[in-house]
């Protein structure tokens, strides 16, 4: 029987524009604050896992150590697209679970303000003479000629595919815009969100169309930010103070999956099957079901993505995501609040930080420290991320009984 693992300390920086701070400033701020929150220091840490996806920095973990303490512990530099933060956390959790360390530190950081459209690269000038290249033997760039490689377009198709499979007869644009309306409304209570402006349905639908049915406010916000977490073994936690034990949050489940082959996955990434599998494993590990979740932070990289994950995470009846959403269930005063942080559409999406920041949000509520946006009496919560390619991280967390 392996040991239980707890989150002892956790921190996210303000998400948004940080022109005066570099990647290491943000990562250090998050790491130092997470350790202070835990009541420990870098000298206690037995393992460090770190991720930074877009900065192009090699060995981000060692670079962070140069700022917060070079203690010689093993460092794992991880990359898993938008699931990078969750992968760093899971790496630290595995090390503690395996008995190789009592304490682990996980850090995710990104500088992404003003990054523009992700997934798509500028189309280069056509070659002078056509020469088949690559695994498709293409003579010209394929983006825009054989579908789209932009993230808003890929995830727009993910949402539209769900509507087709479940014979939705309504207006897709308005439906998805309503999901965004919810998340932007939630963000007004989150002082750390990049955008905290309430937006009406008319404003959302009237904004710049990026890839139908996703307008700009229905897309995740590129921004700067970092998040870090300190994890501890159950046996070590028992030796700590009552105050530390009270604020510790139990990791009831920690799961990472990749995408199993599906017929259409070569032409449109399948973000569903690996999420369904991760959720099923997480519920099994945690010994809880969807009805036990007091709040869920899920990967709403686009409004069109949030809808399908209601179904993938088992929050609604299979095929019932639309009715579930329209019932009001996922608003903060509904029966299954989703993305009370404002989600990626307003809180922002500094890629490698996201998979720890969503854990921070859940922990904040379970500790009863979420202030104006506190979900009263929250005991169990879930955090979910998807990294296209694909990787899915699901964590289920539980309030301490101490």
């Amino acid at each position: 029987m392996t040991e239980d693992v707890w989150i002892l300390g956790i921190h996210m920086t303000k998400f948004g524009k940080h022109p005066d701070k570099d990647t290491l400033d943000l990562a250090s701020e998050a790491a130092l604050a997470a350790m202070a929150d835990a009541g420990v220091t870098i000298n206690d840490m037995g393992v460090l896992a770190a991720g930074n996806l877009m900065g192009g920095a090699a060995s981000i973990g060692q670079q962070i150590q140069k700022q917060i303490g070079q203690t010689g512990i093993p460092v794992y530099n991880v990359a898993n697209a938008c699931a990078t933060g969750a992968t760093a956390l899971r790496t630290a959790i595995m090390a503690v679970k395996a008995g190789e360390a009592d304490y682990g530190l996980a850090v995710g950081v990104e500088k992404l303000a003003g990054a523009g459209l992700l997934g798509a690269r500028n189309r280069k000038a056509d070659d002078d003479t056509y020469q088949p290249t690559g695994r498709y033997g293409a003579v010209l760039g394929l983006d825009g000629r054989v579908g789209t490689e932009s993230m808003p377009g890929v995830f727009a198709q993910v949402g539209m595919q769900y509507l087709h499979e479940h014979q939705y007869a309504g207006a897709p644009f308005e439906l998805f815009a309503k999901i965004s309306e919810k998340n932007h409304a939630h963000s007004t209570l989150n002082p750390l969100a990049a955008y905290t402006k309430k937006m009406s349905l008319e404003q959302i639908m009237g904004d710049v169309m990026i890839a139908y049915p996703n307008t700009r406010p229905m897309c995740s916000a590129n921004c700067d930010g970092a998040a870090a977490a300190v994890v501890v073994s159950d046996s070590k936690l028992k030796t700590l103070s009552l105050e530390q034990r009270k604020r510790a949050v139990k990791v009831k489940a920690s799961v990472l999956t990749s995408d199993p082959w599906q017929e259409a996955c070569q032409v449109l990434p399948d973000v569903n099957t690996l999420t369904k599998r991760a959720a099923a494993q997480a519920y099994e590990q945690a010994g809880v079901g969807p009805d036990d979740l007091d709040l869920v932070e899920l990967h709403d990289c686009f409004a069109t993505a949030e809808l399908v994950h209601y179904d993938n995470l088992g929050l609604c009846e299979p095929g019932g995501a639309v009715d579930f959403f329209l019932s009001g269930a996922t608003w903060r005063d509904g029966r299954r609040p989703v993305n009370v942080s404002g989600g990626l559409q307003s809180k922002g999406h500094p890629i490698a930080a996201t998979g720890i920041a969503n854990i921070w949000e859940v922990c904040h509520h379970l500790r009863g420290e979420a202030g104006d946006r506190q979900i009263d009496g929250a005991k169990v919560g879930m955090a979910h991320v998807i990294g296209l390619g694909s990787a899915c991280g699901v964590h289920i967390l539980e309030k301490s009984a101490a």
């Binding site: 003479t129 087709h164 017929e263 449109l268």
Partner: protein, 135 residues
Amino acid sequence: MTQVPLVDYLVLGDEPHLVAKQCQACSARFFDRRNACAACGSAQGFDDVEVAREGVLTSYTIVTFAAPGVPVPFVAGLVDCDGTSVRGNIVNTEADPEHVRLGMKVRLTTMPLGTDSAGTEAVGYGFEPIESGVA
């Protein structure tokens, strides 16, 4: 004029069509070159198989903001061609949700994309609505 297909899974000629590589062990289909089968792991090999030229639109997006150099708007879609999913642009229709509908029937078509310095013409593919299939 010499023509070259945009991708090697597009076969030009009197009846342009797409060709998939089908796993000899499990029949999973791929459009790109694979070292072994992603569905079953078999390294037995692949056979070329013709993909149906008509299908049903199972998802789409209308891209109005793309990377520099990519002309917009265009419709990117996912087409179920008799059990084989194909990615392609939806063409010869207005790029709006009134004209592009989930579940509509479409068929393969080709179009010239440009000519290189040697006078070779690149030919791409897309899917166009079949009139009778539009509700």
